[in-house]
């Protein structure tokens, strides 16, 4: 089995789709000669040429909107928004246009666009280059939202997203691009809407996304030494959400922690909490604990940044809090 980094896995999914299908092309700022600010599209200009690996001006709303227009013609554009923070410039097109054309037309149109973006703290980028905004898009009917945590998942989920006939907002994480693992020989799409159990356990379920999946696995290993058996589940697709998988896991463990890098307040963890407390109320032996970033913009100074963003020890503390209580 080939070993790929998360970055290479994204590139492999893009290139595979573009080799198979002329209707797939990519657009974004500095994705051509430079290969993207994260190096994801390096080499693709040489293989596919400037028509299909298209540098755009700094025009986030038109970049996304042009993708929507091409998608309405049956193409499958993959547009790259360099940082999640700049999604804020394109929300009108994502929310009012991409998400609603099919509906407003009574089913006449489809908009098979994939909007790739990335963000994440851990390198002192400051307050405007690391936000995690996935929760916003989960609130918008008509959009699918994907946030893969591993090379295997990002490869299969991106291929599935490109071939999904709906607009997909696809979140990658800055600090995961270097992550390496063996991936399947054959690139197969991974169905959207299916959670992945990374580790089975009996005492607590940790629902984690993005980089917190890896922090949760570290915390789980640590917890095991303390005699706590932790199950780690990654929804991978935030919309549609695999509610059954989350609820089933909590019905088994009776305790739940939700973890993401985004701000805790009004973060995706709030939705998971609301779903789980409703679906597994009688099984819960402790309040659901949320782990996320502190309620501040991201500070620049590394000591402050480090403290604001959640890590394995924060997940572990949350795990301890949930098991520190007796069931009732």
């Amino acid at each position: 089995m080939p070993e790929l980094t998360y970055r290479e896995a994204v590139r492999d999914a893009l290139s595979t789709a573009m080799r198979r299908d002329d209707d797939v092309f990519i657009m974004g700022e500095d994705i051509a000669e430079m290969g993207g600010s994260m190096g994801v599209t390096q080499g693709m200009l040489d293989e596919f040429g400037p028509e299909r690996v298209r540098n755009t001006p700094i025009s986030e709303i038109a970049l996304v909107g042009a993708g929507i227009g091409a998608a309405m013609q049956g193409m499958r554009p993959v547009v790259e928004v360099m940082y999640e923070d700049f999604l804020t410039l394109a929300t009108e097109q994502i929310v009012n246009q991409a998400a609603k054309h099919r509906y407003m037309s009574g089913g006449q149109l489809t908009v098979p666009i994939t909007i790739r973006t990335q963000g994440g703290a851990g390198w002192s980028p400051g307050a405007q280059h690391a936000q995690q905004l996935e929760a916003w898009f989960v609130h918008i009917p008509g959009l699918k939202v994907v946030f893969p945590a591993t090379p295997t998942d990002v490869r299969g989920l991106l291929l599935a997203s490109i071939y999904d006939d709906n607009p997909v907002v696809f979140f990658e994480h800055r600090m995961l691009y270097g992550l390496k693992e063996e991936v399947p020989e054959e690139l197969e799409p991974i169905e959207l809407g299916k959670a992945r159990v990374h580790r089975e356990g009996e005492d607590v379920t940790v629902v984690a996304i993005g980089p917190l999946v890896h922090e949760a696995l570290k915390a789980a290993a640590q917890a095991e030494e303390e005699g706590i058996s932790v199950e780690v589940v990654d929804p991978r697709t935030l919309q549609p959400l695999d509610e059954d998988a989350l609820i089933a896991s909590v019905k088994k463990t009776n305790r739940c922690v939700v973890a993401h890098e985004a701000i805790t307040r009004m973060g995706f963890g709030a939705e998971v909490t609301a779903v789980v407390q409703h679906g597994a109320f009688d099984w819960l032996d402790a309040p659901i604990e949320r782990v996320g970033a502190k309620f501040t913009p991201l500070p620049f100074a590394p000591v402050m940044e480090e403290w604001c963003v959640p890590h394995a020890d924060d997940v572990l503390d949350a795990i301890r809090r949930t098991v520190g209580r007796d069931g009732n």
Partner: protein, 323 residues
Amino acid sequence: MAKVEAKRGLSEERLREFLREMLLIRRFEEKVEERFRAGELPGFLHVAIGQEGVAVGVCQAMEDGDVFASTHRAHGHTLARGTHPNAVMAELYGKMEGCSHGYGGSMHLYDVERGNLGANAVVGGGLPAMTGAALAFKLRREPRVAVAFFGDGATNIGTFHESLNMAQLWGVPAVFVCENNHWAESTPAKQHLPLEDIRDRARAFGMHAIKVDGQDVEAVYLAARQALEYARSGNGPVFLDVETYRLVGHYVGDPQVYRDKDEVRRLRETEDPVTKLREKLELSDDEFDEIDREVTEIVEASVEFAKAATDPAPEDALKNVYA
């Protein structure tokens, strides 16, 4: 930036078609106002009375396979591009037989089969998609053009700037039609446009621009043909400045406190595109009335059709969210 001169006049027969089409739109929108006042029509309605020459001139110049994006003021574009009045009226009544099957409403008229990729209730919201549709045509080497309608007020939104800039950079076959009626809702041009000639907006992208009198449907048609040919033959996008007048309120029910009643009255007398074409054609009252009777019947029938049409079931709301 060429000012278009009517190279070749159109046949009288063709112009009569234009008159009939404009009058159909006029009667249709007058009926919409009437039915809204009667409390039959839900939602938020904007009619384009006075601007029929833009809709008919541009839409008649388009060819099969061409696509367009419309605005909040969409009835004229939709009808002029061939969507049946029954389907438009049924949409305004929120019926399943409507051109958006009751999901869209007046500000979201669609007819994908006829290239109508949707009216947009967000000013400027439809422009980037036309740049993108035109890019698709270019990539696929299809001789098709994407047309974006928008108003003078829309030239102030960033979406306009980015969409035209990108279209010019990439040389895509798009025509940007500015329905320049000198008002953005209650805001006069002098409060939102710091320039005399709106074609200067196109200069910021080095885009070819054409100005034409929107109250002369023949001139609009010829300018639009020229613009469409220019784009279709691979010369890149065109900005079409169509000077026109909104002879009614911004929305149906608008008391127009912001503008002088006499000005409107004067404009109705001097700038009505239907009257202008009627005079050009030297139609007798009988000839005109005959056309009028015919289109009025069609409009009446569309109301009957719409009222008799099917309400969606409440749960149908869950359909069409995802493909």
